[in-house]
Symmetry: C2
Subunit: 306 residues, 2 copies
């Protein structure tokens, strides 16, 4: 008879979705109610963190986000199973990545400017076909981006520590072959989580491997980017553009130089939202496993950080 | 020993490509040279039309464009085989269509405005997944758009006179079921050629079948659209947006109301250019057939107009 605490800005929607699922033995709780015998929590990591010490009986926490940084602080307890949201962001993230690659190739912003001047602008279009995309990180999201790239007849390189399952990645790179991976790419996409190994991996030396027509995109975590190095590359014209969804500090402060760096587009962490219907489906599947005593899907390794 | 006349703004490129192909018996001619015994012409229809009567021996004309309107004037001779460019525009056209569908769903222009104000804008994104797209015309280009729509997990409706070969179209509509086809579509895409039957098919009555959140896109021919009706629908907010690549008059005159109609984007007939390498490949294949006395690929039916 596990009590499930819902700590989410979308609590009303989760209550509706989980009630409809008729989970055997479950009692749904929200913050107003007494938190006795609360074994399971589902919610946003930043809402869970402040109450973590007030839940002595918690055994499993399901994050509604992919990123679980707020719960990885070494000062916090780790005596429960933490699962994150995975496998639900791939399609949305692929739509995001290709919307901006196509915006660039199709010269959409240039054509909008021409229209403002009532000027016919038949400038020849670019195309995705034949281009080379490099993915920093080839987990479930990277695999969906790779599959989409193949659909558009591109070449795909992947840089990864351990995920080599995607048949759509043409070549995998590891460890100190990072520069070989990046050399000559048309597009570099970071999908990396925030770990010690990924911090500022996108720095001056890595950006120097890209040709001046290349685009950089960050949909993973802001910590992967040396922000000053990226601004500098864009200002020097050493890079054609950058599209950033994630930042070291969010919301990005108004005084940050990114807001006005040339050819840098900011998308305010909107690339792949956690739609409650998707997250609830994932939770329900894990709840069935929890009750049956089976291993949970997408359990986070506290040491690796994802 | 057929003489081939090249009448193209890309003549130098075609001479290079066709010379490299080493076509058996072919002699390549350009406008400066005497046009004796000229059996074959390859080029843009608007360049071919003025010299058509000066080529008594012409037996086959290969258009570098899909559209061949300049050669369909009933006053002109039709005693030769006319082939157009097909099968080479599908991927480019699909990239075009999806670049603008994603621009819309991802609220890219809204996010650009927010960035100008240094404002964090995490407005929830839309998605292609689950949306319904309607294709007016399901030939080789429509089939590629349909295949891309399926990749993005959309529902596809097709309206066609005779092309029903695509496995990616979920339902085909014909003749007077046009309104049933259009009713409730999220996106309506016209890929229609210019014929008597397609003239102003996109009019007030058809647009009234679309919900106010729908987008209309024209990548076929300008004649398919009742321009005043489209402007009116956009001004009334009866339609969320229109993206137009083709027009009744090109280049679009500076005084045309389209330039400043709200939520209407103009792309200056840039969606799917005729890259000489693609067209030459197609011509070389047809030349082989011509010499062997076999039927040519993509022969135009003068009566149907495509």
């Amino acid at each position: 008879m596990p009590n499930i605490l819902i700590l989410s800005k979308n609590a009303a929607e989760y209550i509706k979705l989980l009630s409809a699922a008729d989970l055997p033995g479950a009692v749904l709780l929200t913050p107003g109610q007494p938190l006795t015998n609360c074994e399971i929590v589902i919610g946003e990591p930043d809402r869970i963190r402040p109450v973590l010490e007030q839940l002595p009986d918690v055994k499993w926490i399901q994050s509604t986000w992919a990123g679980v940084e707020p719960l990885l602080d070494p000062a916090l307890r780790r005596d429960y199973r933490l699962t994150n949201a995975r496998g639900v962001f791939g399609r949305l993230m692929a739509e995001y990545v290709f919307s901006y690659l196509l915006l660039h190739e199709r010269k959409i912003l240039q054509r909008l400017d021409a229209q403002k001047q009532k000027r016919w602008d038949p400038t020849i279009t670019g195309t995705l076909r034949g281009k080379t995309i490099g993915l920093l990180g080839t987990g479930s999201i990277g695999a969906e981006v790779a599959r989409t790239a193949k659909f558009f007849e591109m070449t795909v390189r992947g840089y990864t520590r351990a995920s080599e399952d995607s048949p759509d990645v043409d070549a995998y790179y590891h460890g100190n072959s990072l520069f070989t991976f990046a050399n000559g790419l048309d597009y570099l996409i970071s999908i990396l989580p925030n770990t010690g190994e990924t911090r500022e991996i996108v720095n001056t030396a890595l950006l120097a491997q890209l040709p001046p027509h290349a685009l950089f995109m960050n949909v993973g975590r802001g910590s992967a980017v040396d922000e000053a190095a990226l601004c500098d590359a864009l200002r020097r014209g050493a890079l054609a553009g950058a599209i950033l969804d994630v930042f070291n500090s969010e919301p990005l402060p108004p005084e940050h130089p990114f807001w006005s760096t040339p050819n840098l587009l900011i998308t305010s962490h909107s690339a792949a939202p956690s739609f409650p219907a998707d997250i609830a489906r994932l939770f329900i599947e894990n709840y069935r496993r929890y009750v049956a005593g089976e291993p949970l899907k997408y359990q986070v390794d506290f040491k690796q950080g994802y």
